[in-house]
């Protein structure tokens, strides 16, 4: 899966430069182990929300490469019908409830989903992925306070990749260890190495158990790194970080860490690794071809899904006039 995400994102970057993908496009390269390791600990009926950097989570949760790539292309078979886009991937059948574009905005949504699980007395869990820059936002503070106060089955995963766009963590937050913010809510917390998929997975399983069984929320601070620019329009290392730093971080490439271990443990050999990579490349190429050839949404789609009833309010026609 990590390899799939890596290759997928590389392909998406390629498609973006070819103008086949537009808008903002935030790649997940470098952080793959976080989504893969954590989502593997969830159940099919759990709820997930993400920020706009969610291609990896969508794939790891099981949305097809075709469905995600087609959405990036804005095509009708995309997982959001081509109307959502890169930042707004959805698949309700998988409990994958969006890509959201407002930093911090989806954190209270997850608190609400966890509330619903408690309300209905199911043992579902609500999981929210966001970046380290979001923890300074009021939405984070309000949402975590309620989750802890009401003992909700929620897991807040802060993917600390050191930067919010061009702003280093320490230039935006008064404290360096984000996990300590949990003390304001008397919430369970852990600092996790996000470059090691197994470590990530183990930490997530502990958090899921706390949520599912004890109805106790957790804040996970996951230390990871963004190998690419913030979005396609941002250079890999702008004014805000050095090439050396990026090179240095690349040494802990989550995929290398993982395959190395498998090889050491004799669970995989170079050949198998190659085969896997080939297989993945084929899946990604297929997704690309599918997306490229897929149809655009019907023009009429412009006016659907604004309301449950397809009917538009009167002002709508004025707008179209």
């Amino acid at each position: 899966q990590m390899v799939l995400i890596r290759r997928f994102e590389e392909k998406a970057g390629e498609a973006y430069s070819l103008g086949k993908i537009g808008g903002f496009c935030h790649l997940y390269i470098g952080q793959e182990a976080v989504a893969v390791g954590s989502l593997a600990a969830l159940r099919a009926d759990d709820y997930i929300t993400c920020s706009y950097r969610e291609h990896g989570h969508a794939l790891a949760r099981g949305i097809s490469a075709r469905g995600v790539m087609a959405e990036l292309f804005g095509k009708a078979p995309g997982c959001s019908g081509g109307k959502g886009g890169s930042m707004h991937l959805f698949d309700a059948s998988l409990g994958f409830l969006g890509g959201h574009g407002i930093v911090g905005g989806h954190i209270p949504l997850t608190t609400g989903m966890a509330f619903a699980a408690k309300y209905r007395n199911t043992d579902q869990v609500g999981v929210c992925y966001f970046g380290e820059a979001a923890v300074n936002n009021g939405a984070f503070h309000e949402a975590l306070n309620m989750a802890a106060l009401w003992k909700l089955p929620a897991i807040y995963i802060c993917e600390n990749n050191r930067y919010g766009m061009g702003t280093a963590l320490e230039r935006a937050s008064a404290i360096y260890d984000i996990s300590e913010r949990a003390c304001s809510y008397d919430m369970a917390n852990e600092v996790v190495d996000g470059q090691d998929v197994l470590v990530m997975h183990a930490a997530m399983e502990r958090a899921v158990e706390r949520a599912r069984r004890d109805k106790h929320p957790t804040l996970l601070e996951v230390r990871t790194y963004r190998f690419m620019g913030h979005s396609m329009s941002d250079p890999i290392h702008g004014h805000y970080r050095t090439r050396e730093e990026v090179e240095d971080q690349r040494k802990r490439d989550p995929i290398a860490v993982w395959s190395q271990r498998l090889i050491e443990d004799g669970l995989m050999d170079q050949a198998a690794a190659k085969a896997l990579d080939k297989e993945v490349m084929e899946e990604v190429d297929d997704a690309y071809k599918f997306a490229d050839e897929a149809p655009d949404p019907e023009p009429g789609e412009l006016y659907t899904d604004v309301y449950a009833s397809t009917r538009q309010p009167a002002a709508g026609e004025a707008g179209a006039s």
Partner: protein
């Protein structure tokens, strides 16, 4: 028909809908133990318990988002804002989450939530506590905006709003909570999107909503004394606006005054004017005059406040001018 207050009519609607549908719950500041800042939720905590009547911290952005999230997975939250002034803190969740979820998700995820509370001015609450934002919410595709003026409409429209599958902004009037009126017994539902003629008339149409309905009715009474027969049209739902009802009335009266509590610039009335002049240009015998709240932050002094508000005298003056009677 029982005579009940606007407050109790809302309370009935909440109680009945919570009995009807276990997915409906009420969340907000002071809705439970305190029985509601304006006592709209009186008795509900005892009846339905703390899981369905939820007191929140003072975190409008947060609990509005909680409501949206719960609605995204199928619950039907009724989120109370103590007043709509405070909802400015939550507006990102209404506009960027609630209003867009269905569209961004290609119809996969709807937000069947109601956001309700009192809007507009009461008495001497000052600049930060006396604001009417209906034109803001009505500007947003994806939201519906409902503003009942009578107890019967309050009950019937709130029930419809709760059953509606889209996010509904339901704006009550603090000054209306004690208003008494007849409410049909038993199941009483009023459809969204339908205006209502509160007083039929031939000479001029007074378009109004919420608190300005009673102002318009008072004005109409006095006008009757001058042989001017005014029709009072209560919009009831601001979005979707019942254009047909407005156009129908104006094409009979050929003259129109639009009254609203809020500020003039790009208010609801401006949209009503735009629609009328576009669709019924040749029917108009005079320009449409709007009567709005004064274009200032609300002052605290009671005389200044009174001067800032819409009153029958200003509506009558506007009617005179569209009838060229001045």
């Amino acid at each position: 028909m029982a005579v009940v207050t606007y407050r109790d009519a809302l309370n009935q609607a909440l109680r009945e809908e919570m009995h009807r549908d276990a997915d409906v719950f009420l969340m907000g500041e002071e809705v439970g133990v305190y029985q509601g800042a304006y006592k709209v939720s009186r008795g509900l905590l005892d009846e339905f318990g703390p899981m369905r009547v939820v007191d929140t911290p003072i975190t409008e952005l947060g609990f509005a988002g909680v409501g949206v999230g719960a609605a995204m997975v199928g619950l039907r939250p009724v989120i109370e804002f103590m007043t709509w002034n405070f909802a400015l803190l939550a507006i990102d969740q209404l506009v960027n989450s609630a209003a867009k979820m269905r569209y961004m998700s290609n119809g996969q995820v709807g937000v069947p939530a109601v956001f309700r509370g009192p809007g507009g001015a009461a008495l001497q609450l000052g600049a930060q506590h006396s604001q009417a934002f209906e034109s803001w919410y009505a500007h947003i595709p994806g939201l519906k905006v409902v503003m009942p003026a009578t107890p019967a409409d309050a009950k019937g429209l709130l029930k419809s709003a709760i059953r509606d599958d889209d996010p509904v902004v339901f704006i009550e009037g603090e000054m209306l909570y004690n208003l008494k009126g007849e409410v049909p017994d038993g199941e009483h539902v009023v459809p969204l999107g339908k205006a209502d003629v509160k007083r039929p008339g031939r000479d001029v149409t007074i378009v109004c909503h919420s608190k300005t309905v009673s102002v318009a009715l008072k004005a109409a009474e006095q006008l009757a004394g001058e042989e001017i027969d005014a029709e009072v049209l209560d919009l009831r739902t601001i979005r979707p606006l019942d254009d047909a009802a407005v156009l129908q009335s104006v094409s009979r009266t050929h003259r129109c005054v639009v009254a609203e509590e809020g500020w003039p610039f790009a208010g609801v009335g401006a949209q009503v004017v735009d629609t009328i002049q576009r669709e019924a240009f040749d029917e108009l015998d005079a320009p449409i005059i709007r009567v709005t709240g004064a274009d200032v932050p609300m002052p605290y002094n009671k005389h200044l406040e009174k001067a800032a508000k819409v009153d029958p005298a200003r509506v009558i003056a506007a009617v005179h001018s569209v009838l060229y009677r001045d």
